[in-house]
Amino acid sequence: MNDKPKIGVFICKCGQKIDPFIDLSAMKVTVSKTDDVTCCEVLPYPCLEPGMTEIIKSIKEKEVNRLVVAGCESRLMLKKFEKRLESEGLKKGQIDVVNLRGHVAAVSDLSPKEKAEKGARLVNASIAEMRALHPSIQQNVHIEHPPMILGGGVASFTAAQELARKGIECYLSIPETDPDIILQQLYQKYLGERSNYPRLKKIIEDVLKNDRVTILPETEIVSLSGITGDYSAALTVPGELNRKRYQVGTIIACLDGELTAPGPEFGYDGKTVLCQTDLENIIYNAVIPSGQTVFWINDYETGQEEYARLSTRSAWTMSRHILENSKKSQVIILYNQKMSLPLTASERSLSRKLGIIWVPYDKAVQPVIQLGFVSFGGVNDHLEHEIPWDRIVLSPIRKIGGNSMQTAKILGIIHEESEFLGVHHAKVRPEMVGREESYLAGSARYSCDLNEALNQGKQAGKKNAEMYQKSAENTLFAPRVVCIVDTTKCVGCGQCQEICDCGGIGIAEGLGGGIPRVVDPMVCTGGGTCAAACPYQALTLQNNTNDQREARVGELAKQLKNNEFVAFACSWAGLPAADNAGNRGLNYNPDIHIIGIPCVGQIDPSVMARAFVDGAPGLLLVGCDPENCHHSFGVDHAWSRVNILKKLFTLCGFDRRRITMAHADLNHPEDFVKTVESFSKMLKALGPIEKTPDNQKKLESIYKLVKTNSRVRLLLSSGLRRPWEATYRGDQRYALEYDRSDFMDALKEELLKVRLEGIFREESRPFDLDEIISKVVDDQNRIINQLSELVAEGAIERTYKQGKPFYLSAN
């Protein structure tokens, strides 16, 4: 598989959509001459069965092991090629689709010959990337240890039951093992569910006596390390200070949210103005309250309107219980007119029979609780009405709760404290993540009723069982594009772990400094900003490496003429906007050469610099709108990286506008066209970078600096936005403060160092100070300091001739 690359190129005519616009035979001639291209064909439709047959023939006969298709949108077509050709040995990553139709044919008025040249350039760049590819072996994931259910939520029991039913042994860590006590306390988490308790009790008892479930009573998780299939979980031991470690395959977190009483602004006093939780405790344990009970569904007023229906359901079951058991009680339910009643037809009829009064109130007027009366605005007459009360019952405030939050933090499924636990930050295609979700169940995820929570537990158990089954059958694979850590390079600085939004990076074992990080391939989404942030380049994104991208952008940049420039477009915003512009036949400046990438956050600063070293006059990066990035903060991270290049450009005397960020939306290709027009116009005014040896040396110094200088790379990555930060030091809003910090000095220092090293590397003769200053135009004192430092490091030697210092390379 890692043999010498043999690249097959197939150019699509696409009916009448590509062929007449581009001189394909000329393009074929150009591309055929490129190294490693084993075959190059023009086909009517490579994507259809007849075309696929041709491709498979070339794989078999000419041993093609990399494929480039020049046709239409890779976002749509790539999957088909991957599916069809997988059995032929071409795996994801070994196939690339270049959008000839949407990025070349339909969008400019160039002649077919010129378009053929542009197309050939894009294809050659893709070939260069394919050449640099080292396809990884398909990573098989084995899960041998049993799963563990944590968190103590009520969903634990259905999860355990489901796992046991599928024949999988599991650990179950719960704080309490007496079913009656569990049920007794449940009203604090789930309201108005008494009718479901007998069923739940049966489930709990069933699980407790199941042989396949190992109960770990009165335990709590303390720490967790490792990756899917091989976790090490430390749990408390009841009555002891020691902790016990368990080897665990997967984790199911069952976390319940918390219900608390609203604040005094609603008049809550716990006696006559109650919360639904208080009332539930009273009516099921003591006497049925007589007199007039008024439920006020005040979720709209507490800012949790999405849960008004849940509160209404629990108010309804409680009122029903009151009226069925007491003749002397009346119940009124007061609700915001914005809500539609969540009752079925039979429930409505029962409600009428019982005499429950449902009163909607004007959404514009907030009800006010006064002594003995509650006033509200009438819906139809807009008149203020009053209802007398003996007891007011308010909706509870719903949130995660302390214990669940604690557990979530230990499990690493939470970055910031918020109202509820989200499932995943990244918004990507399912094939990009190995595990479907983080197996989180219960009302801490979002407030829900008991049934929903139990169902979530069951689903988590089911999905987990599927994973075990796949593992047993040897068919559980990690996605092709995930990060891997080179443990020989990793120093354990933890930058990657901090900026990772998917929670896929962890510590191998134990705590402390200098321990290499590990990536969980089943959790990693392949966002790749971690790889671009690593100060020591210990992280690589498999099948989509930095080297590949450098090769591609370099190859493209080498072929550019005049003001033609490179643009990176992310596959969630920039690329679809460009594709859609092509689809609609919008015209824009043909100087742009688009390279599609999964996320702009993957672009290492060295890739950006490489474009300029190889001759591009400008680089545009088109990402999502801020706060809308599919990999959470990729676009912010790209912004920081672009800015370090801008700073270096200024220091070297280049125009900093040559590298620019842009934002796009897939549904607004007309805005993308404006972006392209504006950037190409500006670049045209600037003209290409003059190709002098001095300029080239400066650009190479920038490239070397951002690629290999760990100090600059560490400073850069420590300034990147963290998932828990709403704003951060490198953010646009704090840019000034960041620039004024030591960062700029460090940058100047390191750049000068790289440039000085360059001088001594080039020629091994001694240089005197004046000559060095004339070569590196910079502050004299700074240069002398830097030279002394290099002498101290042993990189260069200082000699004196007639009292004048001379410097030369130590080698």
């Binding site: 259809l48 976002r75 077509m77 088909k80 596959s571 859609n580 801020p626 549904n667 709403a726």
Partner: protein, 201 residues
Amino acid sequence: MITFNINDTEVQAEPGWTVLETARQYEIEIPTLCYHEAVSSSGACRLCMVELKDGSWSKLVASCIYPVAEGINVYTETERVKNVRRWVFEMLLAQCPASGEIKQLAAKHGVESTRFSIKDPDEECMVCGLCTRACEEIVGLSAISMVDRGVHKKIGAPFSRPTEVCVACGCCVTICPTGAMRSRIDAVRGIPKITLTPLAV
């Protein structure tokens, strides 16, 4: 290898190919709308109809889903085929009169008006289901699907609300042949929210 005729020209195909695929391989143009190379074909729009002739007997089939067979005689531009195409275009012009793409394609085939009544002059969608197939087969999700049945059938997310299942990849917008998904995607993915965090004091 299967040998048959398209427009009296002998063509060769492998078993499993469709008539449309073979025609495209031989660069014979057949108009399509609900067909896209990236997803499975469904034969919904009936624009790719071709005529199969056997002596005096003939029938019309949708070429995108009709498998090739030995010795069949396929005709793509007979009077009967053109007539069906005109009817389809007239119906499409009545179903989605607001779609510029449909108007353009219809005009190319000489249809510029419709004799059917137009129910909704702002409608762009022809309910071909290409977007739902793309969502399922390419993306691996089912964020959008056919809602309702029969003449009320339309494309949307469950309960016509923005759905969390949608990853906003835009495949449906790119694949849509009538441009209808452009105005629909915001109701599926949710309006992109731009929340600027307030400055820290």
